[in-house]
């Protein structure tokens, strides 16, 4: 069995490994045919997610079709202390869905029904395995959409979005998952099914939904979610702003937001990112600029004009060299397709790890410059493409994963960049989550006392620490089991 030599997982529980055959036989009894993967060959493709730097085979993979089946599997695992790793579409960029040797993966990919669309109340209730984009597509004919739009929205599931409290380009105006989630049905470690929130905008009692959002599969498994739907704006238009340096583009973003102008999206791409995206999407991005901002405005023609005029004025002060408005819906779609494919398209030229640090906007230019220096010091290349409006940076460190030294350098460069973000007053993760990737950096952000409180909250939901236990909290300093 392959074990990553770069990061420690929790030591597997012998009591679980020794009972592998029996556990698999029991799981088979709990599930319909076709819902259990236990063949060693079949387990291999589940050994990682979109964070391919680390891998670990699970004990088994279950693919339940109903909440009752999820509950049955969890009840069983809870009773025998078997670790569980929830998995949506496996697009996590921090290894959130990477299994561990003694874990049963619970994949939600068969739970893809849209249960209820309530346009009067502007809500949709869906099973956890429904993809983010499917929610918007289901209500598009009626003129509605689900706002948070991770670039991976084509594939990622609402369950995974809740797990990571995911964001996206348009979250600048509409907020991230937690601002758009109204209720969940969730199964706890012992098989108990609970419901939190509902169709109303605010629920009574503690804001437990807020706690669930971003809990990375450690508090329970979400099987259904009720989300808020929004009416489509009258019009929307992305505009491209080209600059002759990343610093100028960064300063422009800071001034736009500082002036109190909130467009729907402000996305940043530097030169390497522009050429990567253009190669895939042929969106007509300007190739002669050092940095590009995609600014989307929306509303009535007059509103869009007004917002644009003030943004253009600011951009001029920062030496904008190109301004190009998209002329058609097709062109607008291509501009977004290019942006949303940026990470995947990077695979055309190199392997990458994607950072997710967030910084105050006033620090954007400084952090961009420092990032370039750090990566150069390790002899690597970087492409920057990110949600600039909320200061959520995504440096893509380009490297060769087949070269162990290169891989180690990339990992170190990544750690340096994240420390830089924290030291600049930001944080480790804007939207991708901590997972296993940033676990050991948590102490750079939080004191042990902070972490102890977080772990106490976690333990209230999962006293045995069986839910996705190798993630988020550094392995040292955990409460004794």
């Amino acid at each position: 069995m392959r074990v990553s030599d770069q990061i420690a997982f929790l030591a597997p529980r012998r009591s679980v490994l020794d009972r592998r055959e029996a556990i698999i036989a029991d799981l088979a009894d709990l599930l319909p045919p076709g819902c259990l993967v236990s063949d060693i060959r079949g387990l291999v493709p589940f050994e990682t997610d979109a964070f391919i730097a680390y891998r670990q085979l699970p004990l088994a993979v279950t693919l339940p079709e109903t909440t009752a089946q999820v509950a049955a599997v969890l009840k069983y695992c809870g009773r025998y202390g078997i670790p569980v790793v929830p998995r949506g579409a496996g697009t996590s960029l921090c290894g959130g869905a990477i299994p561990q040797e003694d874990a049963v993966v619970i994949g939600l990919s068969k739970m893809t029904r849209i249960l209820d669309i309530d346009l009067a109340n502007r809500t949709a209730t869906v099973e956890a395995g429904v993809t983010n984009i499917n929610i918007s597509e289901a209500v598009m004919p009626e003129g509605f959409f689900y706002a948070p739009d991770p670039s991976s929205q084509l594939a990622c599931t609402i369950g995974g979005n809740i797990g990571m409290n995911s964001g996206g380009a348009h979250c600048l105006k509409y907020g991230v998952t937690t601002n758009n989630l109204l209720g969940v049905k969730m199964v706890l470690f012992d098989g108990t099914i609970i419901e939190l929130g509902g169709k109303a905008l605010d629920a009574a009692g503690y804001d437990l939904l807020g706690l669930i959002c971003g809990s990375e599969g450690q508090l329970g498994i979400v099987t259904e979610a009720t989300v808020r739907l929004l009416a489509r704006p009258e019009g929307a238009r992305p505009v491209l702003f080209g600059f002759s340096s990343s610093e100028e583009a960064g300063a422009c973003v800071a001034e736009v937001i500082g002036a109190g102008i909130i467009p729907v999206a402000i996305e940043f791409m530097d030169k390497p990112a522009i050429s990567i995206c253009e190669a895939f999407a042929k969106a007509g991005y300007p190739m002669d600029v050092e940095a590009l901002l995609i600014v989307e405005v929306e509303g009535s023609e007059a509103e869009m004009e007004a917002t644009l005029t003030s943004i253009i004025e600011i951009a001029r002060r920062h030496g904008v060299t190109t301004i190009r408005e998209s002329q058609s819906a097709t062109e607008a779609a291509l501009i977004w397709k290019g942006r949303k494919s940026a990470f995947g398209a990077t695979g055309r030229i190199a392997d990458y790890i994607c950072m997710d640090g967030t910084v105050p906007l006033s620090q954007l230019s400084h952090v961009l410059r420092k990032t370039g220096e750090i990566v150069a010091r390790y002899g690597l290349r970087v492409a920057n493409v990110f949600h600039a409006g909320d200061g959520n940076m995504h440096p893509l460190i380009l490297y060769n994963i087949n070269d162990p030294e290169d891989a180690a350098r990339a990992e170190q460069a990544g750690n340096d960049i994240l420390r830089l973000c924290v030291d600049a007053g930001g944080c480790l993760t804007g939207e991708h989550g901590v997972g296993i990737e940033k676990r050991d950096l948590m102490l750079h952000q939080f004191s042990q006392a902070d972490l102890d409180q977080q772990m106490a909250a976690r333990a209230a939901f999962d006293p045995q620490w069986i839910m996705n236990p190798s993630k988020v909290f550094p392995l040292e300093g955990r409460p004794a089991a």
Partner: protein, 435 residues
């Protein structure tokens, strides 16, 4: 993605190609969302990313194929929707082709499966045998439900279901020779007669010949042609596929020598995808590599070719057409707008069914070998098509025509049949009952 092949393994050019493909995959998972089998079954092992990983593991460890791998690769439709979606440009087609050959070489299938595959490979590519088999099927139809109750014989039952009740006679359109034109000659092309299509729907090539003749294009049906090899290629029968490819390359290049050649016209997009890949398939054969690349460059789907001929715009008709884009058309050959523009230009109102990227479940011999998944995809496709409330369905691939026809009463035709009619040809018999 990380790969671990030894230098010795990489000395094998097939492995070297696959390694390059695997290196490009960043495991982002986008492709899972548009894969018909993942959408239907919800298991990552039945998704492109899962299959890529299964193949990687098998090839890296230089292992014979096993049941788990074969199960999930067999379920792949080769629809190539994943390639349209992949931002990283991963060539899944060449990877899965390699895996299929590896399976064929290293895995012993259960007897029933072997039998079915042998029959398909021995019958389908040969029009004469196929016609005979269909006649026999007409007699055997009463036994279909019986066969389907015996698991290993189930595919034979499915075959009987799919076989048409009327079998056309051999068409003049398939007789080798040059189809002359009356007016001014504007071009000269060769056509692929094909194997199953002329038996199931001879009307398609007949319409093509008529339309091209009226447009001043001389069409040659080459001597010594036959099946393009796509059917056996998808079954991993490499030698049989490469032999077919060489035979076709020879036949078409002979036509070129005799009088020039502007294009090789293909009226079944499934074949088109394979013929456009001859250059790759024969790249390691020094005697054929260059010639095959020439043929691939000449290969044009009929709609692709017609789009270059500037057909006049015709008056609006009352008929509404749902255009079903075959996977081999939209994903395999990336032809997406030409057929619809041609139909609109000819006066039809064209509608796009929802979920157009999802396969109808035909996929060559897939509907025979994987009937359960195929049925589900067919039902989904028909639902989406019928929701358009169109009068007619148009598509560019015989496999889709046969498949969808068994699920709906809306008449389904090849795009070129509608175009031939619109530009002065006879009204297709299928449409007698339509306004």
């Amino acid at each position: 993605m990380q790969t671990s092949f030894t230098p010795a393994q990489l000395a094998d050019p097939h492995i070297a190609t696959s390694e390059q493909i695997l290196r490009k995959c960043v495991h982002c998972g986008f492709c899972t969302a548009t894969c018909p089998t993942y959408v239907t079954l919800g298991n990552e092992l039945d998704s492109p990313r899962g299959r890529i990983y299964l193949i990687k593991d098998m090839l890296e460890n230089d292992r014979p194929a096993d049941e788990e791998v074969v199960t999930h690769i067999d379920r792949c439709l080769s629809c190539l929707s994943c390639m349209t979606t992949c931002p990283s440009g991963v060539n899944y087609m060449h990877l899965v082709d390699h895996a299929r050959v590896h399976i064929e070489k290293t895995y012993k299938r259960p007897l029933g499966d072997r039998l079915v595959r042998a029959v398909l490979a021995a019958v389908l590519p040969y029009p004469g045998r196929f016609r005979l088999a269909l006649k026999a099927a007409a007699l055997g139809r009463p036994f279909a439900s019986l066969l389907k109750r015996i698991p290993p014989l189930k595919p034979f039952g499915t075959m009987l279901d799919l076989a048409p009740s009327k079998i056309a006679l051999a068409s003049a359109a398939d007789t080798p020779g040059t189809h002359r034109i009356d007016g001014v000659k504007r071009g000269r092309v060769a056509i692929l007669s094909g194997c199953a299509q002329p038996v199931l729907r001879p009307e398609i090539n007949e319409a093509t010949l008529r339309l091209l003749a009226r447009l001043g294009i001389e069409v040659v049906v080459p001597e010594g042609a036959g099946c393009c090899g796509a059917l056996v290629h998808h079954m991993g029968r490499e030698e049989q596929a490469l032999d077919a490819a060489r035979r076709m390359v020879d036949a078409w290049l002979k036509v070129k020598e005799e009088g020039g050649l502007d294009a090789v016209i293909i009226t079944a997009s499934g074949c088109g995808t394979t013929i456009k890949d001859y250059g790759h398939m024969l790249r390691l054969d020094p005697a054929y590599a260059e010639k095959a690349a020439q043929v691939s460059a000449l290969a044009k789907d009929i709609t692709e070719y017609l789009a270059s001929l500037d057909l006049p715009a015709l008056e609006r008709k009352t008929l509404t057409v749902a255009y079903h884009s075959a996977c081999s058309m939209q994903h395999g050959q990336k032809i997406t707008t030409a057929p619809k523009l041609l139909l609109r230009n000819a006066g039809f109102t064209v509608r796009d069914p929802g979920e157009g990227h999802l396969c109808c479940g035909s996929a060559g011999t897939y509907n025979i070998l994987q009937p359960e998944i195929s049925e589900k995809l067919k039902a989904r496709k028909v639902r989406n098509i019928e929701a358009t409330k169109a009068d007619i369905i148009a598509t560019g691939n015989i496999g889709c025509i046969t498949q969808i026809a068994t699920g709906t009463v809306i008449p389904i035709l090849h795009t070129v049949e509608l175009l031939d009619w619109a530009y002065g040809g006879p009204k297709p018999a299928m449409l007698e009952k339509v306004r």
